[in-house]
Subunit: 360 residues, 4 copies
Amino acid sequence: MVYPGAKHSRFHHALGAMHLTQKAVETLRAKNVEISEEEKNGVLCAILLHDIGHGPFSHTLEHSIIENLYHERISLYLMEMLNREFSGELDLAIRIFKGEYERKFLTQLVSSQLDMDRLDYLKRDSFFTGVVEGNINPDRIISTLNVKDDQLVVDSKGIYSIEKYLAARMFMYWQVYNHRTSFSAEVLLTQAMRRAKELSRNGEKLFATDAFGYFLQNEVKENLKDQLGQFIQLDDSDVWASLKQWQNHEDIILSCLSGCLINRKLPVSKILNEPLSAEELNVLTNKTAGELGVEDGSYFVHQSSVKVIPYDKHKSPVYIMNKDRSLQEISESALQILSHHLLIPIEKFHLCYLDVKKNM
Amino acid sequence: MVYPGAKHSRFHHALGAMHLTQKAVETLRAKNVEISEEEKNGVLCAILLHDIGHGPFSHTLEHSIIENLYHERISLYLMEMLNREFSGELDLAIRIFKGEYERKFLTQLVSSQLDMDRLDYLKRDSFFTGVVEGNINPDRIISTLNVKDDQLVVDSKGIYSIEKYLAARMFMYWQVYNHRTSFSAEVLLTQAMRRAKELSRNGEKLFATDAFGYFLQNEVKENLKDQLGQFIQLDDSDVWASLKQWQNHEDIILSCLSGCLINRKLPVSKILNEPLSAEELNVLTNKTAGELGVEDGSYFVHQSSVKVIPYDKHKSPVYIMNKDRSLQEISESALQILSHHLLIPIEKFHLCYLDVKKNM
Amino acid sequence: MVYPGAKHSRFHHALGAMHLTQKAVETLRAKNVEISEEEKNGVLCAILLHDIGHGPFSHTLEHSIIENLYHERISLYLMEMLNREFSGELDLAIRIFKGEYERKFLTQLVSSQLDMDRLDYLKRDSFFTGVVEGNINPDRIISTLNVKDDQLVVDSKGIYSIEKYLAARMFMYWQVYNHRTSFSAEVLLTQAMRRAKELSRNGEKLFATDAFGYFLQNEVKENLKDQLGQFIQLDDSDVWASLKQWQNHEDIILSCLSGCLINRKLPVSKILNEPLSAEELNVLTNKTAGELGVEDGSYFVHQSSVKVIPYDKHKSPVYIMNKDRSLQEISESALQILSHHLLIPIEKFHLCYLDVKKNM
Amino acid sequence: MVYPGAKHSRFHHALGAMHLTQKAVETLRAKNVEISEEEKNGVLCAILLHDIGHGPFSHTLEHSIIENLYHERISLYLMEMLNREFSGELDLAIRIFKGEYERKFLTQLVSSQLDMDRLDYLKRDSFFTGVVEGNINPDRIISTLNVKDDQLVVDSKGIYSIEKYLAARMFMYWQVYNHRTSFSAEVLLTQAMRRAKELSRNGEKLFATDAFGYFLQNEVKENLKDQLGQFIQLDDSDVWASLKQWQNHEDIILSCLSGCLINRKLPVSKILNEPLSAEELNVLTNKTAGELGVEDGSYFVHQSSVKVIPYDKHKSPVYIMNKDRSLQEISESALQILSHHLLIPIEKFHLCYLDVKKNM
């Protein structure tokens, strides 16, 4: 919706992250970190499958199609399903994925500040969007990785590569992941899904493939296990084809949300340093409802906080290993020139609302 | 289906071809070829819109969704529709597109051996597939273009760039465009469409968006003009969502074709130097029908000729302009080192059939 | 000596910077900044020639071959010489180069925080060294340039490109321009030159081309104008061929310095947060002199301060132009996320000394 | 002299070719070709050192500085010298280099139609000249290599990569290696060297470093072994510094040749389909001598034949290995679409002569 070049897929990302993990394993072995063939296969399977639980439109619909589950949990269910099919061959992959394996660096390759997941998606997203401020060099970063006491660390010569990576990640957040225009499209999509579910659960039979229709009508209560078979039938086309059909639905809210998205008539979207008050929001919501002739304007007005911590040293610290093999957290290293500035969180606010006169 | 990186879209291609055309216009102007602003806008609009008539899955479904029309004709209808909306501002673009404008080189920038269409798609397809044998350098080729007597020609210093481009195009044909695996997926898709139309026209109500359903049920007889509104509603998701639903249809032929495609169970596919005889094909077709338990096996067995002329000097000759401004057809130039070899056509044969025991 | 890929030359840089300036002029014209053909030629000539005054080994020998002149001054002399040859055609270029032309943005394209000089060398040095932390995107930065009141400014949408560029520049300083190993080679080279001059001015006839010999024997007192003819005969090969011959000279200091450089036996080199005291330096110098058996050890021990201000807002501020055409210095903009951190200078210290036992 | 970007060095090439050889060894091992660690080290050393015998200006001065030896022979002498220093550790490398090791594919990785030497220099020369017609993909080609009966072969799926590589090599010959302008510079350099040797051997003491002076004065009679120590002192700067000094020498022939080269006043240079007759050459030579006022004009007029066989199947055949492990020479394969055209040699002629009136 914003960067037309960004047609890359999660399948590409899964392959790419696995490719980088292979390189990381080779690099660590070359630095005399012992990694057995079984451990190598385990970490490769874990990274290959780490995102397999994503449904259509990934994060955007993460809690819209299935309310109560994060995609990581769904990935885990699918890995367990595959593990049964493959007679336990994924046992170690699952332990690594869940963080239950004693050699923590293997889990850290899959999920940490310097995991292969981030290295791949930053590079890939920067390349396909053309936002060069986010460009990083995974090969270089991998070449600086090391292991001490089963923890993933960075050789001191790599400190500037890491600082550059942390800065690049911050640039991507403000220029891509939190882009105000994609935000407005996301709001349309999640609100369309919210409305479609409401209508479906009130007995309306909306146009949908069987699998998609299932999730419109049913709430996944406890866990997804029983519905996995339905869930893996879904891809973007189920949703998109429905939105196209729903444009002409008689419910104004659903047809308006769908039509705006399909025809790229996006709401007004702003990044604010200070948020609107609850009262201001209320006024805006009621005005929109009135202009559209609907009762509930909340589908068309949305505000949220956006907080970026370029480097969260408490949640996911990076350790630099000096030549004497002593460790230092990167922002406390004598060599650092940028990372202690990147500890500071930045908070802004997204506001988006439909300008009825302009859009309809 | 073959090159997972190849996620680029026709929209990218349209922008890219227009970008190259802009460069070509600037280059020619710098060589003292007079091109008015009106002509520039005309050729830019013509190239931007040249592919707008493509429907879902482009060439593959070109004659499956609408039987009797080439996409160029549909592009023309859409350009004329836009021209009415824009009060005739596309008049010149349409004349250039149709080859009715007297300065032929403008049409040749849109459609000829060296048009910006080919330069863009070869570069783009080579990049996104990773098939480096097809890599060309559009900037370099454009820098060698010139005009004599309103014909597009090539400065003699560019002769090797052109020869390399002709060879690259040949490599792309054998490695990408005629790849045996994509061929087998294309056969599945066109046969699924054929079956869906048959069923629809016999009164079956198949799952489909309204717009897609229209083309399943109705044949476009004379011309598309009245159905343009429906046609432009279509994109790949209409087709793909239907195929997903059709997997479970009770018609064995339709469900088998759809399911094989969705689940990537592709038929056997071979490139042959000699084709199978009609009789051999017949035997294979009947065997397949028997194994599937259907009456007509022709949906599952397919053979076709594939002929590539790397450089067709009669249909679309390339002229080299010597320093004295005399012209020579490239394969007759004293400088050429490859192009006279590229005149020779190569013919091979594609065979594809469902191996029922393996696939089902 | 450090990055073997870095074989790019100042000639490449001059062409590259001119190429970027062409792009900048086109970009500004497209934004309705009027630039006459004469101004365009002026700024192109100014940037093409801005570094023409560099002698062999550029900055390293900047004050070793000619003591009292910066290269910018020599560039100016050469431009004036050329201007006489070309009957005044460089008049405007020289005014722009000297900052005497009223439209300041033209001078700023040649020399400022965002000049085409820096954009070219950062990109080029990053590419050829492989230090990706310094990679920038000149095309993107240029596309954000604008002019207000004859000052070069940046459109607000480009703020992150600039912040990334400022960070990249800082990374290049610490990883390339101030690399401890190239520093040690620079010390060898300047000390060899110092010794060769001393010997020459004491009557010794050292191996050298005529032009190089001239500068070994004579000090350029007032200005270079009379010696320009000699100076432009020089390139790296004059110096390098002499160093090779000097390896076998009977003066221990000269042969040791030359031999260490030619055979890549570089001194010990360190980056320190705190400098050695004068006394410590003295001890080290005397020890080295003793081990080598020479009187003066100062040729072989060297310490200097290295101070980097990633963004010096007082010397060369960057102005962001908001959509209402108001200006803000970048570190004071509401949008900034990095530049106010980059105002802070960082100082470190280089120490280098010959380890006689190891090196000889 | 022709492509200013082409500043890459033979050192880069040696590292690059070794890097590719490492990849090739890994690829072959992954295809179950057994290669011991000792063999791996042997082939890596052989390729690293294969060009070490090149002197200043490589091929151009190959028979000018030392008359009777090819650089391969000098490489061998240096490898043997190193082997003595390293107590025989290069034994196997030398056997591989000389083609005396029984597993021929190891020698073929160093020297054959598909050796890592060619893959590296084609890619590198294409990149640094910007002549994209010569661009190849070494990684792809290496991935198709295999071994049968200790011979290097190509898996059939790689046939088009090889055909593209053969075409690329042909393009590089006509656009780079046999470029008429570099040819004219080469003629100047070799003739300057010829003249300098004549003068030196007649007792003239020319400006030169000691090592370079040695080869000007002495002919290497039997073999170079005794002079290796002198030879390895030489690099381009010895020659270039002398040429700069020789510009002002009183011998007209030497000063003219040197000055034309240093100041880039290159002779007229042409590629001809038919050569000049001996008589025509004679007339041109005498005219030039007369205009310059020298006795012997042969230093300034030069003609030679240039013959390119894009693919010499007799000297260095490429074998394609089908899936049944049978072999076919590539131009005889059923799959080939280009290589049988590339068997045909092309011969042209280079003529170069000094145009005295224009040049002096």
